[in-house]
């Protein structure tokens, strides 16, 4: 099938367009979104199977051959990320059904939701660095709309800041792409890799590489570029926040992973060392934030920062094992961060506040919610056999093999503090006498939470089953020739 790669982009796009015509009917919106999310998961799973059986899939959009036209490429990494995004989209929809009222829905909430998925899946699937920028913009435009959706004062204020920083980083993105094109004369990522591996003047490429690191660091919340995140993410409703936490920053990580493994290999000793140091600073400041705050949302947001650091460190090591660990960790982190924000949102819904200490004893009335927090804490920090363990274990082992003992120790210690920060939510909200919260109906919120947690647990326990896929994804990253050949063949 020629067009397999386009489905994860075309399905949400078609859905978004159809939804524009039925914003008046909440029921129609829900049904169409749900059907589309199901189709999206099927398309993602099919793509993974296809890549597994037939190797890297590519699509020359408009039948313009690579490297002249825009090429969409799906290797195992892209396919797995697209599949995970689809699952998160479905969970996000189920959560939105209960938390987003009909007034918001009539203001195109589900339309923007679908466009966000278009942008994310597009960014994961594209094989052209300018097209990556375009899909970033699709994703960002939708995220502006979702962030300000509801129009409260804090949302307007934070969206303004978020827009300014993103417009700035988008401008930088275009500038960096312009430089890259001026130096190499191509925008196709596979073609870029070929040109750069034969380039003589690597110094200017290193500068361009660092420019890209700044751009992706801004999107992916890497130190020192994460400062926008705690503010911006404190504003929107939980359903939106969960999507952002699960998807947006991970697109930044994916972009670093892709460009640093495929394109910018000319001076690994320099560029990847910088990435490693930034990763360490990100981890340290992330866990400090997570431990210091008493606001549940902020704790969860700083947990994202810490996790981004771990993944960036995995990328910087650039061995097959560390890349495998990074992908393992990336996939589980997408699922777990979404679940964490769902849970925090549900707790805030019954307690009426995000501040720990104003309520306690949730375990009595909401046992499922309480144990969900507990499980999340274990999974996030990487207690075996839960899902965070394998990724971190692989990354740390790779770090030891490379002799980076200090960095490995920091990652290990950060896990403990991450555990503490989420346990803090569990202890202060679930233990003690029951006070400060109301009896509300939260059963519908349990569905996406339990589904995601079950998935994360299965992912950890069934790692043996998942590993061949991950290994295949890591193999393509570690040896880009596979990717390059399948894009530029013919």
């Amino acid at each position: 099938m020629t067009n397999a790669v386009i489905f994860p982009i075309a399905i949400p796009l078609t859905t978004a367009v159809i939804l524009i015509f039925c914003v008046k009917s909440l029921k129609a919106q829900k049904v169409i979104s749900l059907v589309s999310a199901g189709a999206l998961i099927a398309a993602g799973a099919w793509l993974v199977r296809l890549v597994d059986h037939e190797g890297v899939q590519k699509l020359d959009v408009g039948n313009w051959p690579a490297p002249f036209g825009i090429t969409l490429v799906s290797d195992m990494l892209s396919a797995l990320l697209v599949l995970t995004t689809s699952v998160i989209a479905l969970a996000g929809l189920l959560y939105s059904f209960y938390t987003i009222d009909s007034k918001q829905a009539s203001m195109y909430y589900y339309v923007f939701f679908q466009f966000l998925i278009v942008g994310v899946n597009g960014a994961f699937s594209t094989g052209d660095i300018f097209n990556l920028f375009v899909f970033y913009e699709v994703m960002l435009m939708s995220s502006y709309a979702l962030l300000v959706h509801g129009g409260t004062k804090i949302q307007l204020q934070e969206t303004m800041k978020y827009m300014i920083i993103n417009v700035f980083s988008s401008a930088l993105f275009v500038i960096a792409v312009g430089y890259l094109y001026a130096v190499t004369g191509t925008l196709n990522m596979a073609h870029l890799a070929v040109r750069i591996s034969g380039a003589e003047n690597t110094a200017v490429l290193t500068v361009i590489c660092l420019l890209f690191l700044i751009v992706f660091g801004l999107k992916g919340a890497l130190f020192p570029f994460y400062v926008w995140m705690p503010g911006a993410y404190s504003a929107p409703p939980s359903a939106v926040l969960a999507l952002f936490g699960g998807l947006l920053t991970k697109v930044g990580v994916y972009s670093i992973l892709r460009t640093f493994s495929l394109i910018f290999r000319q001076d690994i000793g320099y560029t990847h060392t910088i990435l490693a140091w930034l990763a360490m600073a990100t981890i340290v400041l992330g866990v400090i934030g997570a431990v210091a705050y008493r606001d549940m949302r902020q704790i969860a947001i700083y947990n994202i920062v810490a996790a981004i650091g771990v993944m960036a460190f995995g990328i910087s090591l650039m061995t097959k094992e560390s890349l495998e660990g990074t992908i393992f960790y990336l996939l589980q982190d997408m699922v777990m961060k979404t679940a964490l924000f769902f849970i925090v949102g549900a707790i805030a819904y019954v307690a009426g506040t995000n501040q720990l200490g104003r309520f306690s004893g949730l375990l009595g009335s909401y046992p499922l919610l309480g144990w969900a927090v507990f499980l999340t804490a274990l999974a996030l920090s990487g207690i075996p056999p839960f899902s965070g363990f394998i990724g971190k274990a692989l990354i740390i082992r790779a770090a030891f093999e490379k002799g980076q003992l200090l960095f490995a120790l920091i990652v290990l210690l950060s896990s403990l503090l991450v555990l503490y920060s989420v346990m803090k939510i569990f202890i202060q909200s679930c233990w003690g006498e029951a006070r400060g919260y109301e009896q509300k109906r939260v059963a519908p919120l349990y569905v996406p939470i339990v589904a995601l947690l079950a998935l994360a647990v299965l992912y950890g326990i069934g790692a043996e089953f998942v590993r061949p896929y991950i290994a295949q994804a890591a193999a393509t990253l570690a040896d880009p020739s596979l990717y390059i050949e399948s894009v530029l063949k013919e």
Partner: protein, 138 residues
């Protein structure tokens, strides 16, 4: 204020602008022009109407929701892309050829025109949605 002159001129000029927009749209096939600029010109014509008359009158003249127009435009553009799926060629692959039509003779047709028509609708829809949203406040 007496808006007699503005209104009289607008009644004529609007049509000229819209026709010019359509001219630009079809010129875009081989020469500078196309759906985007044609959409902007058309939106310009509607804005002139808004200046001469008020939102209510213009709405009764053009009884369509601009947001729906965005949807219709996207549907055209997306449909052109998805057409490739039906014929098992890559997404967004276009087809073109020469057709003999009665009266017009030899006409070159291209599916990119359908895509461009989508762009045209989206541009008109988005521009007018923005202008109306700002205008309604006053």
């Amino acid at each position: 204020m007496n808006e007699l002159i503005l209104r009289t001129v607008t009644a004529v000029v609007t049509f000229i602008i819209i026709l010019f927009g359509i001219q630009l749209f079809f010129a875009g096939h081989y020469y500078p022009g196309g759906g985007f600029i044609a959409g902007l010109v058309t939106a310009g014509a509607i804005i002139l109407l808004l200046l001469a008359f008020d939102i209510k009158t213009v709405r009764s003249m053009i009884p369509i929701s601009y947001r729906t127009l965005i949807g219709i435009g996207l549907l055209f553009a997306l449909g052109t892309g998805l057409g490739g799926l039906v014929f098992d060629v890559p997404f967004l692959t276009h087809a073109h050829g020469h057709v003999m039509l009665p009266l017009l003779g030899d006409v070159s047709l291209h599916t990119a025109v359908l895509f461009d028509l989508g762009v045209y609708f989206v541009v008109v829809g988005v521009t007018m949605t923005i202008i109306e949203t700002i205008g309604e406040e006053e």
